[in-house]
Symmetry: C2
Subunit: 443 residues, 2 copies
């Protein structure tokens, strides 16, 4: 007998079907037992009598043959796709028996502490609310790709093992590479710039690794980064145009395809005005000063409270949850960032802020070999092993730039999660690589 | 003036346009100079007189304003999309000047030795034939995704840094992880199995790393692997059905979208019969013996010459360039591979061979916790740090299996490339991480 998926069962009243899935919850009502069974398409109620069904436990993997029948009117659940029917079990087979769960997974809210959520990751990922996070993340990453493919960007696979860092070597993981010292890539920066010389417009969905010695709610050591880079830009504002289009497409896609997930997680898509406001850092600081009287006008960056304030301003004054802050000081941006020809103390760079935090960062890059090597030298960046990067500029790279953002952070910000670890299937940080490092012998 | 892309110019005879791109080749004919200019959409001929155009060199990045005009009948190139027109240059601006090239990139064939091809990777990637390889690779990877999404697979991002290997620890790169020993993932095996418990059907496009101490034409240390895993399989042959569908979809897509690239690379899609033949290893060895009298009937695997022979047989007798060989000996497959209940010396495993070599490998997995831990123990595999993997089976995993293949190898096999390094943008091996390791100080 062929398997019937949960979502298809509603249409099959009166028919005998074969369900396969996991027991979510079990309720014994005297002689009768109710199961919530779930598979990849949803949840379905199973009802039966006898020892066999009574012996089942949450997370048992079962195969159940039974008849689809309408539920008694009093037990109809309008919220559920299959809420008007149930399956009367006739034959039950246990495909895989689960051990007793350490906590209740059937509950509506999932109020586990983060360490428990992660110690039992293979189990907690099965909770509908946790699964929903990664359905949204999949849609975000997929739409990043689709949006850029519509603009004729080429997808590429960027290396993980690199001979030298793109940003001066801080906080890189070191690999023993056949007795040579190599590193794990913190970003695909050099490679995406090289490939502007090949495909003009490129993007990558790639792992980036940072030996962040900080344990915060925002830091992971392993991140899936979304990177784009494009050549022949008319001017640097075109970079913000493309970033804005991508973000807008992502919002539209998530709203369209992940409606159920957004409801389940009580999340809403940020509000966008027709155009995301763009203001210079110094202007932003002026606005913040006016609103708060905080004297941060000469700082090279926005402090967390200032980020929150400028987002508040953007929402209140411009009707946009997101805001571009531009022209960060040259000294605070990577060596390859293009200085503003009108005011070389500042760069043609931007951060996209939303809901009080940074979402995305980008800039125009220096595309002249001489200027590039000179800037690297001034900043003490060693490019000795970055031959291929310099080679690209030796043989002609057009005016170009790009942007980058982390898939975990954007998932976190859209869904309003409190900790970025919740937005990573298997989060890695200073204290954990699946298992807690403190529990291991230091070897 | 807005930019016109090369492919749009053919329709604009008589109009003034602005082109942006790289000089591919330059030919001086007395007073007149001809350029082949290229951008991401193709090549276009530019003609002009005077010092400015004569001073251009290959790979110069230029912006040219000019009039689109029909070519003289004698110079029409029917093979080229823009072969009936040329652009008479009126104004030339050099956006980025290229240095003298170390070799001619304009030539039809690219007969550079591999070390040169890689030493100048940022330049050689710009050759149309090299670019074509990665256009095909992009289509392969994209179709892998699309094909599985149509079957309701969920895409996930698998970790790079892992606490312990999936296959017993051989040939893993070691990372210094905050003074703990961690490793780079050789495969997403454990994670895709865990996620069968969450999404039923999953796939990943992910970097896998192997400290292969061999320098062959088939080995890279860094590979973009295409992995799929699915639960609630009816029987293990379903795994081959899915793999076959994916491969077939990839062939159809490449043939449809990469026609130009296939012609340029003189490549053709392998021939498939209505169903890819499936034969047991021992049967294959019997066939090979009959055809060649080679006595390899009791070997645990096929030697390279036997792989070639069975592919020859498949093509000659079954009309298929591809063939599944199944039931490899239990001792030769990873500990998690399901043994054939009818003959436990052999596994429910398969390799897909084509054009004389292995393309893809897969199997049903053990989904019973007790059997799994016992097999690991028997094979000396330490799962001490693989808590999350074992946890998944503790809480119920359905009958499941999957398959895996490398994007570089399948690109190589479809295109008939001689060396897998040609199918990696930035290939890593024992001797090279962008730069040749032998040229570096051992530090």
């Amino acid at each position: 007998m062929d398997r019937t998926l949960a979502r298809e069962a509603a249409k099959l009243a009166g028919k005998k079907i074969l369900l396969q899935g996991w027991v979510n919850t079990k309720r014994d009502h005297g002689k009768i037992t109710f199961l919530d069974l779930y598979d990849r398409t949803g949840i379905i109620q199973v009802v039966g009598a006898g020892e066999e069904i009574r012996a089942l436990h949450p997370q048992d993997v079962v195969e159940i043959e039974g008849i689809v029948q309408p539920r008694p009117a009093s037990t109809i659940n309008e919220k559920l796709q299959t809420g008007k029917i149930e399956v009367k079990a006739e034959k039950i087979e246990v495909l895989s028996k689960a051990e007793e769960l350490p906590f209740d997974l059937g509950m509506q809210t999932l109020d586990l502490e983060l360490p428990t959520l992660l110690d039992y990751r293979s189990l907690t990922l099965r909770h509908p609310k946790v699964r929903a996070i990664f359905n949204v993340q999949e849609a975000i990453i997929d739409e990043f790709r689709e949006s850029l493919k519509r603009k004729e960007f080429t997808e590429f696979q960027s290396p993980v093992i690199i001979p030298q860092g793109a940003e001066g070597g801080a906080e890189m993981f070191e690999v023993n590479y056949f007795n040579h010292k190599a590193f794990l890539a913190q970003s695909p920066q050099f490679y995406k710039q090289i490939l502007v010389g090949v495909f003009e417009r490129v993007f990558a969905v790639n792992k980036t690794l940072r030996a962040e010695p900080s344990v915060t709610t925002r830091h992971l050591t392993e991140v899936t980064t979304l990177d784009a880079e494009l050549g022949f830009i008319e001017d640097w504002e075109e970079l913000m145009d493309v970033a804005e289009d991508v973000i807008r497409d992502i919002f539209i896609r998530v709203e369209k395809d992940c409606n159920v997930e957004l409801q389940l997680l009580d999340a809403s898509i940020p509000k966008l005005s027709e155009k995301i406001p763009r203001i210079k850092l110094r202007e932003a600081q002026g606005i913040i000063f006016k609103r708060t009287k905080r004297e941060n006008c000469n700082e090279p960056d926005l402090a967390p409270e200032d980020e929150r304030e400028i987002c508040k301003w953007s929402f209140e004054e411009k009707g946009s949850d997101l805001v571009f802050v531009t022209h960060y000081p040259t000294s605070k941006r990577p060596f390859y960032t293009m200085a503003d020809p009108k005011d070389p103390e500042y760069t043609l760079s931007f951060d996209l802020l939303g809901r009080g935090v940074e979402w995305l960062t980008g800039s125009q890059r220096i595309n002249n070999l001489k200027t590039l090597t000179q800037k690297a030298k001034e900043r003490g960046v060693d490019l000795e092993k970055s031959e291929l990067y310099l080679q690209a500029f030796k043989y002609g790279i057009p005016p170009e730039g790009g942007f980058s953002f982390g898939s975990e952070r954007i998932t976190m910000h859209i869904l309003g999660l409190k900790n970025v670890r919740e937005a990573s299937l298997f989060p890695r940080d200073m204290e954990r690589v699946d298992v807690r490092l403190s529990t291991l012998k230091n070897k």
